[in-house]
Amino acid sequence: MKTVTVRYFAMFREHAGIDEETLSLDAETTADVFHATQDRHGSSEPSGHCKVAINDVMADWDSVVTDGDTVLLFPPVAGG
């Protein structure tokens, strides 16, 4: 099990009802973390439209998560 802090933004924050939470997860990658939070909060956004970062650095959905990481979950962006 790993302890991971998850931060939610925009629509994800509204779905979760919180800015962030610390979870104990059996997660290998950012995709595992994302799916665990979706199960938890009932969101169904496909990961392909979303972005992810680990400790303030952009990452991929197969990036490995280590104990103590902060994973940032970004719903589809819409700047401009």
Binding site: E14, P46, L72, A78, G79, G80
Partner: protein, 157 residues
């Protein structure tokens, strides 16, 4: 009005991206790009419009994750500068609540010739829109609201 020759001697920050909650003033920003070696300037302003996908929009709300919006924005400017020699580029994006007609994003570049200026400006705005962690929520005339590209992401993908 300041003339370009004054601005050559007191340039302010350029080649950076900024986020702001204040009104964007393109004329002031444009002056930062004056360069005696530049023969072309190209600017893009993104405005808040009153409709989107058939809905009447009252106002927009922008949210950004600033640390990564700035580092990703700087990467995009660096990419543009490596593609187009002697380019100067600057970008400002608003956050918070914006009304119809306000400028939400401004990109300005100067370059030796117009072709590079047009291409670089287009490259920067296109990349900003798909890469920066910035989200917008539309508030509609009928009272409801929605995150752009999220609830309708299947359609817009």
């Amino acid at each position: 009005m300041e003339t370009p020759c004054c601005c050559f001697h007191r340039l302010r920050a350029v080649d950076v991206i900024e986020l702001t909650t204040s009104a964007i003033r393109p004329d002031e920003l444009r002056a930062r790009l004056f360069d005696p070696a530049a023969g072309a300037y190209c600017g893009f302003e993104g405005w808040i419009r009153n409709h989107n996908e058939g809905q009447s929009v009252l106002r927009l709300e922008y949210e950004a994750y600033e640390p990564l919006a700035l580092t990703e924005g700087e990467k995009i400017l660096e990419e543009a500068k490596s593609q187009f020699p002697h380019l100067r580029a600057h970008c400002v994006h608003r956050t918070g609540l914006l009304e119809i007609g306000e400028c939400a994003v401004w990109v300005g570049v100067s370059a030796p010739h117009r072709d590079e200026a047009f291409q670089a400006c287009r490259y920067i705005i296109d990349q900003l829109k798909v890469r920066l962690p910035i989200w917008k929520k539309e508030h509609y005339v009928d009272g409801h609201s929605g995150w752009v590209n999220c609830e309708r992401c299947a359609k817009s993908a």
